[in-house]
């Protein structure tokens, strides 16, 4: 609806911006917080605030496309009899069947398998489709324990104990009733059509000392075969990572505040946790402090979109990254071909984030059989594989430019920061200076 008056001179309030006004109106109407999918939308320091220093006089670059730049990573070398080896340092993050359609889960498995990396189950258990199509499948052990059973546990290539998620550290989950199909209900032992809450705490352990025994129990049940990861939302990351190592993790997964979610209160997504950038540095500090860097592998996630993000995370000391939202977009989420339907839902392609409500036109975040049918798992799987290949090539390009024969040889010294904030958070000097705010040691 276009206005009849000239609005070009009107000044929008920075405090009461249009989205803020709209939210107050919505809250007054509905009396309940807004639940949505995706990650934080606010501006935060990210890997974009770092730049690589390519090779020049003092460093020797590698020939693109000719000289090999290794991307293979082995995860779970600390205790597991069978660590897993991925051919690219990019894994698919845990997203539940329930939040996502069976077709989407299958596609993620296909895509990951095609490029030789792992995918992850989620709240709701393991489906035969994803097990069947995933060469390397990480099985999540969550507070809800929906669908948890020892048979699936023993089928997993790794186990990920989820303590928290970046989008909602300290929060539980909610799968709204409209997404509870017969199959989802059965897998979770609950009636169809009711809201399914996922607890925010595990039901049978309360602190890091208990967790250590819990990890041992999981190892006992799986005969010490597979790696055990511990996933935490980024908050008190230094301590959390150290406690995860003490609890016996083979791999620690740190998920930054901008990480995606299927359904969380907007207030939670935007206001709890710390960004992936400082969390990565804190996690590496914690591992180094214990002498466990590279001994216990570190996977970081939350807002990874490009090979640049991957390369910067690795340069800061991570062993691999994990992607959620970007994989959904690669499959077709928010694609312009659904524009009419996005409009019918009151939004537009590029802004759709109602992954909680099950009416996703792309057939990804839905349990509606007709919508789910729209997603061709083979085609979507190929897109995921293409996207992962592209990220890998980009990562190698940057690593070669810095003269590295292995992407994990990238190091903090290969980078500078563009902003004072990023410099302080990443402990990387501000470009053109040797200054790191708050840091007086030797870089």
């Amino acid at each position: 609806m276009s206005s009849k008056i000239d609005t070009s001179w009107l000044r929008e309030s920075a405090t009461f911006s249009k989205p803020v006004i709209r939210e107050i109106q919505r809250a007054a109407r509905e009396g309940i917080y807004d639940i949505r999918g995706a990650g934080a939308k606010r501006t935060i320091p990210t890997f974009d605030d770092l730049l690589f220093l390519g090779a020049s006089m003092s460093r020797y670059p590698l020939e693109g496309y000719r000289e090999k730049c290794e991307t293979t990573v082995t995860l779970g070398t600390r205790f597991a009899k069978k660590p897993i080896t991925i051919s690219t340092p990019i894994t698919i993050a845990g997203m539940s069947f329930g939040a996502l359609s069976a077709q989407a889960k299958e596609a993620l498995g296909r895509g990951a398998t095609e490029v030789g990396t792992s995918t992850t189950t989620g709240d709701g258990g393991m489906t035969p489709e994803e097990r069947g199509h995933s060469k390397l499948l990480v099985y999540q052990y969550l507070p809800s324990r929906y669908g948890m059973n020892p048979d699936d546990l023993r089928k997993a290539d790794a186990i990920e104990v989820v303590v928290g998620q970046g989008a909602k550290p300290g929060g539980g989950g909610m799968l709204l009733g409209q997404k509870i199909s017969d199959r989802v209900a059965e897998m979770r032992n609950l009636p169809k059509g009711i809201d399914q809450r996922s607890a925010c705490r595990h039901p049978d352990w309360t602190g890091p000392d208990d967790l250590e025994i819990k990890v041992q129990e999981l190892r006992e049940i799986t005969d010490w075969q597979v790696p055990i990861y511990i996933k935490v939302g980024a908050t008190r990351t230094f301590f959390d990572v150290q406690l995860a190592v003490k609890a016996g993790a083979d791999v620690v997964v740190v998920d930054g505040m901008q990480g995606g979610t299927a359904a969380t209160q907007d207030v939670f997504i935007e206001h709890v946790g710390i960004p992936t950038l400082p969390a990565t540095r804190l996690a590496v500090d914690a591992l180094k402090d214990l002498g466990m860097h590279r001994e216990v592998q570190l996977i970081v996630s939350g807002g990874i979109r490009s090979g640049a993000d991957v390369a910067k995370a690795l340069a800061m000391g991570a062993d691999a990254v994990s992607i959620g939202t970007a994989a959904l977009i690669a499959m077709g989420d928010n694609a312009p071909e659904h524009e009419q339907e996005y409009n019918d839902l009151g939004t537009t392609a590029g802004f759709y984030d109602d992954w909680q409500d099950g009416r996703d036109p792309s057939g990804i975040s839905t349990q509606d059989p007709d919508l789910g049918e729209r997603l061709d798992p083979e085609l979507a799987g190929r897109r995921v594989a293409n996207y992962l290949r592209c990220l890998t090539l980009e990562t190698q390009t940057l690593a070669r430019a810095a003269g590295k024969t292995n992407v994990r040889n990238l190091e903090p010294q290969d980078m500078v920061a563009l902003t004072i904030e990023a410099s302080a958070m990443a402990r990387i000097p501000l470009a053109g200076t040797d200054w790191i705010p708050g840091f007086s040691g030797k870089f």
């Binding site: 509905e30 009396g31 309940i32 809800s144 324990r145 948890m148 059973n149 020892p150 546990l153 909610m174 709204l176 009733g177 979770r188 032992n189 609950l190 009636p191 059509g193 009711i194 809201d195 809450r197 607890a199 039901p203 049978d204 352990w205 208990d210 025994i213 819990k214 041992q216 129990e217 006992e220 049940i221 799986t222 005969d223 010490w224």
Partner: protein, 225 residues
């Protein structure tokens, strides 16, 4: 009969044996458990396991098929996520016994501490004595029988699980209410008490379950959270 003396042997050895079919159908004696953790975790086959003494955390975790008896007390997380078979404790059980268990029968002849049957998903639990606070929190399905009393907030946010309580609850949790005992319930309770070998008159019990008011979020219920 096979004997494992945990004073000399690692728990690992016992558990590894319980994951293989070699011992299926046999009876196993575990002596000197000494409060160790994860004793008989992940058993897979129909065996009779007698543990002579006290156990620590997660004894009989994720049990499938085995019949496990602890002749002593059990630490936290006894029979957590059990799938089938049975677990009996002659003494008392600590927190979260039967947590998230999907099936089988858990019998605690003494008392069970807090959060007994938390998030249970189909298991049957019979407690000869009393249970602690927040028991059957978010209990999804299965049946919990308590022959003594229950602590605060029994059955908070309960889904479809059924609770039979002979004594009194200190308080009921959110959305948990008393429900009428019909013949069907008397019958199923009689059957559970029989299986547990505990003698009480089913008529002395009251039944509790979900009022189902919180199944779908409604603004008017926010006060309940």
């Amino acid at each position: 009969m096979r004997e494992f003396d945990l004073q000399n042997a690692e728990v690992r050895l016992l558990n590894q044996a319980l994951h293989g079919s070699d011992l299926a159908g046999q009876s196993i004696e575990v002596v000197n458990p000494g409060g160790k953790h994860n004793v008989a975790a992940g058993a897979q086959f129909e065996t009779q396991v007698d543990i002579r003494g006290h156990v620590g955390y997660y004894c009989a975790g994720m049990n499938q098929n085995a019949r496990i008896t602890v002749h002593g007390n059990a630490g936290p997380g006894l029979a957590e996520n059990m799938m089938s078979g049975s677990v009996t404790v002659k003494g008392n059980a600590s927190q979260y016994c039967g947590a998230t268990a999907h099936g089988g029968l858990l019998i605690v002849e003494g008392d069970a501490a807090a959060r007994c049957g938390i998030s249970m998903k189909g298991v049957d639990i019979v407690v000869g004595g009393s249970i602690g606070h927040m028991s059957a929190f978010m209990a999804q399905s299965g049946r919990l029988v308590i022959c003594g009393d229950a602590g605060e907030s029994l059955g908070d946010s309960i889904y479809e699980a059924r609770i039979y309580l002979r004594g009194e609850p200190t308080s009921l949790g959110t959305d948990c209410i008393e429900k009428p005992m019909e013949t069907e319930h008397i019958e199923e309770l009689k059957d559970l008490l029989n299986k547990a070998g505990i003698k009480h008159d089913p008529a002395e019990f009251k039944r509790y379950g979900s009022a189902r008011k919180l199944y779908n979020f409604q603004v008017d219920n926010v006060g309940a959270y």
